[in-house]
Assembly symmetry: D2
Homo-oligomer: 377 residues x 4
């Protein structure tokens, strides 16, 4: 693991997600960009001294020095965004499988370079768009694929949070600080942090290609450098329309991520704060509440579930589904076989790249007085 | 009453709203544009023969012929939109109070003419934006006015329906037919029918002045002439931003009208399908569920409520609140006094005019490739 | 109308329910047991002086004095419970149709006497068990009748309120005072006030005959004379089991009336605070949310609905459905025809009597250390 | 681990709960009562051959043979109920810490013997009443303890499931089979399987001592030997009353476990299918929705939470909280210190014993025609 040491929120989530199914064991790391903190974090988490490094370059060098059989299979990159590219690039080029947090990298150029590197080396590369790991999101995706909504006409996604309604980054909150520092998070604030999840949700569930968008970005909190509120109109190939809202100044709202997809034959609604339910409104007939674990779900949703219906699963389990998908692909890679696609079900480097192109288009539209801006696919 | 005869949905709603509080008695009418149907409808509803007219001109002439003490106090205009202007204008100029359905008229020019006429004659004029008659919408308005949300930053309103997901207007559905006939409903489809309610909800609750908007309109259903899906970005005086979605192709959705308002101190959420609740998310502290009828509500919400909390009130009651507000103003007018503003609480001709300017701006923006377009206030 | 004058809550509800559909006109009354208040109330509500009486005996005598064509068709009895019997009995015997509030009377003997009187005179008699007037409750009833739940095994009804969590009757609250005065409300507190609604809901929806019950009654609030909390186990003919909870000391709860019915083929759930929905859990397959007004509902639910789905109807509308049912029967009676049962759909005197027998059984069980007690059917 | 091999549902849950926080490593086991299946299961889960046993006696003997430093710290007993007692008793007496599934044992005599053994050896003993491990259940408990509800008057708990609405035990379902075999599960069906969770929830949240109960048990499904529906009236020391419903024949219901507690100052409601929320209805003022992870929760609820509010946690996390509590106590035990009670927060052997006495009282009441029966404390 690179990053994710003391004080980091997402590192602990990655570790719980890895632990849940017993398919990962963390044996080496460079857990912080500050060498002392990196090593202290590693000791706390039980890393052996000789695999507990002060920086990622040392980790990489040490791994390469070891016998291939002893090397780690996969590296998790859970640093602030600006470190993603060099670390991911280096490990991919050295032949390691990688799991990288989102948004993948800062620029479209970096994203394409990484895609090229992964294709060239043939390694496994997962991006932790964890929300599309929820079983009921996969169910939604399969229902759209199977034509149960008919032709998709409309997509509305809102991702609302309230935690940045005040200037938390000026009060010593580490999470808020790096997210609102353009050098670390790129030019996008809410758009990068949560808008990228929204893009991935739309893309994953509908499979539609986003052609163009018109975006209105605002920084509401005085002194803030990056957008904390983003609203945009979307146009998809084939004529579907959409709206995407990503805002972190909805005072009092926790993690309000919502999806509505309407097609000629029905509508689906999903809300992340109650992720075990998916409501299906058929064109005719009463709405149906689909629940995680039910036997009538699509196998892709069944596989993403660990316990019976009515016993709620949550965020960590969805996150773990991304890791489980990567693990299935790594196992297939090791045996030179093709993984069962129901198992190796995870967002890949192309999904990560698409998210980066989305962010670039949003920023370009906002800079040009919200003109319609093409999105590179 | 003008319009609202056999086969009309909204006429019956107006009549129930009038009946509920025993403040109105329907004594005369021209209930359809088809004279025979008009008279048949009137007979069915118990109008005396000499006050049951074949057209609104006859109704007006007959009323003017009568002794002022015997005349009706107020005329309800519940025709398709294109008739609103001539009827409302004629009755106002003849000195009658008027309740008119929304959207008020077809053009901004007509709207301003009507505003001028009402001001000149000093009559009472109500517009049945019924959704802002809900007690919990009034509670939201009072909370914003009292500063409980701090400075408003963000407004998201969605008004989603599914009933026009297919080409109902080609299947003999009268409601669908006139709404999708530009001659009768004006150039706006979903925008006029439900978008105007959304504009009124925003304006009523936040009091913000909408400065400009960028709108993307679509007609999804093949053969349809007017928009059935509208998405727009909003900018308000003072810097607040917003999103307005009005769509009638959300297959399977009934009447999904939702509001979210966020300010520096909190967020409010309201959903028309459960109108007795309003959720308040303070910046700090747990969300609170405010319910209709509770003793801690603002007097404006209390007055709009008839029965104790927990005994749900609905659409008809909200509609009746508009009529009750108009009645209070008519009584004050009759005695040359000023009505208690908590009682004479209803949308007036200026609110109706603002809605017309909104629709014009939306259509202009859509025609200009979604350019930001100023909204005349 | 008898009772329901100034200060009474339920009288106003009855009047709105009567007004809503334009089928009733209130022309005479004795609106309070205090003659001065009775007449003042009548004046306020626009009764002519010669039909505005100081007591119900005067009202009855005056009506009988009038020409039959001029007499009222139906009398609404909305007094405190202890007056129901003499008033209802007298008007029935005089040949008037009657609508009476619940619980019908104080004793099983009175109840049977009233049933006998109604049968003998052949008049129409409705009891305002208003909750079974909700369209979705009628839908539930029809689904059970049609066998959609298979054989009913289990019924759980809870009716929880919090308004009597403190000793409101000692603080000048008129509603609380008569309900907790054994002389006025009978020996039952919560059981009579809301438990009787619960009994009617079970009986109406399931059609099951309650054979025996074991009841545990408590008066939690110090100084209170009647039960404010009632819990009971139920056994039905044919083997179904049930639980009924009626409590008025659930601090902070408004009007939490809930039903769950389970059969061999599915379960239904309904909650009065969101009365436009009914959730159906089939034995196999996802739950379906049935909504008021939807075209796939049973005609009995359709008829009980005034406006389209998604436009909420509430308590007053449900109440008005009882009155509309009675009106349909009165019209049929006047023309010596049989009313359409879909229209004349209302709780009758036998339903009222059954509720009285239920209350007597509950009190008998509670007095006997919660022994199983037979319920007279 | 004893039990929990191939085909067992709950064994896998225990293993995920253990893995989540990285505080447990499974190194030895006797994973089935069938030696071959036990060893196959162990191999699948990566147990070393010399610690993978065919029966629990062999596991115990082998552990005792090893150097104390090499022995397991704690044994998880996840067998069908009838094996709990001998296994738990033997390991406790040999000085091992134990985590045992619920209900603890079959009889009150066994329960007290186990309590005595644990006290004598001074070992740590946890019972996986997992539902009281939910953070919001702990919040409810702390609110009651802090007097935020005033004096508790009323408790209603329902635990409804539908999975046994048909005779699943006759169709080869292993979970259904042992639960409905009196030899394996004891004399209680739904009462033992889920009623015991309900008893623990009441006891944990309210702290009230259950004095007596009157229970009505039914086996609805033809051919079933044990109760599949249980309804009971409860009386607590100090005068509070309650209702407990546990039913497995609610066709279509998944895992509907609900709690309502009312006191003089307010009411709490919690529903297991949305476990991240707890609704608090104060006696006066609007209801408040408390959410997991919020900074204003009690420290006991904070500690039971891993990720920020709005990122749902579920069943596995709650289960893991029981294991984390036991681990904290084991660490304290190892260092001869007293664990922080906020950390060592888990149901112990006395809680398990109380559940057994509860079941015995329920069965005794049911056998005696639902007479009030004392519950041994």
């Amino acid at each position: 693991m690179v990053g994710g040491g003391q004080g980091a929120f997402i590192g602990a989530v990655h570790r719980m997600a890895m632990a849940l199914d017993g398919q990962y064991e963390m044996v080496a790391g460079a857990l912080s960009s500050t060498p002392d903190r990196a090593r202290a974090s590693g000791r706390e988490l039980g890393l052996a001294d000789d695999r507990n490094h002060g920086d990622w370059q040392a980790l990489l060098a040490d791994e390469l020095r070891r016998d291939p059989a002893e090397r780690v299979d996969v590296v998790s990159v859970v640093t602030p965004n600006h470190i993603h590219f060099p670390v991911a690039q280096a490990f991919v080029e050295a032949g390691f499988h990688v799991v990288c947090d989102k948004p993948l990298v800062h620029t479209g150029v970096q994203a394409e370079a990484l895609v090229t590197a992964v294709r060239k080396r043939g390694t496994v590369f997962g991006v932790t768009y964890n929300y599309t790991g929820y079983p009921m999101v996969r169910q939604a995706r399969e229902m759209v694929r199977a034509g149960e909504l008919g032709q998709v006409r409309k997509v509305v996604v809102e991702y609302n949070q309230g935690w940045l309604a005040t200037r938390l980054e000026a009060e010593g909150n580490k999470q808020a600080a790096w997210r609102n520092d353009p050098a670390q998070s790129g030019g996008a604030g809410a758009v990068g942090d949560i808008g990228s999840h929204a893009e991935n949700l739309i893309s994953s569930v509908t499979g539609l290609r986003l052609e163009s968008l018109s975006a209105d970005l605002t920084s509401f909190v005085p002194g803030r450098q990056l957008d904390d509120d983003a609203n945009m109109l979307l146009r998809f190939a084939g004529g579907a329309r959409g709206v995407l809202v990503a805002s972190q100044i909805n005072s009092g709202i926790e993690n309000g991520f919502r999806l509505r997809v309407s097609g000629t034959e029905g509508t689906l609604e999903w809300w992340q704060e109650e992720p075990n339910r998916l409501t299906h409104f058929p064109l005719s007939g009463p709405p149906r509440v689909l629940t995680r674990g039910a036997p009538w779900l699509h196998p892709a949703a069944q596989r993403a579930s660990r316990i019976p219906p009515g016993h709620p699963e949550g965020f960590i389990e969805a996150f773990a589904n991304v890791y489980a998908g990567v693990a299935a692909d790594i196992r297939a890679h090791a045996t030179d076989t093709i993984a069962d696609p129901l198992e190796a079900d995870y967002p890949g480097v192309e999904d990560g790249a698409r998210g980066v192109h989305f962010i670039e288009a949003v920023l370009a539209s906002a800079r040009s007085s919200e003109k319609w801006t093409e999105v590179r696919g």
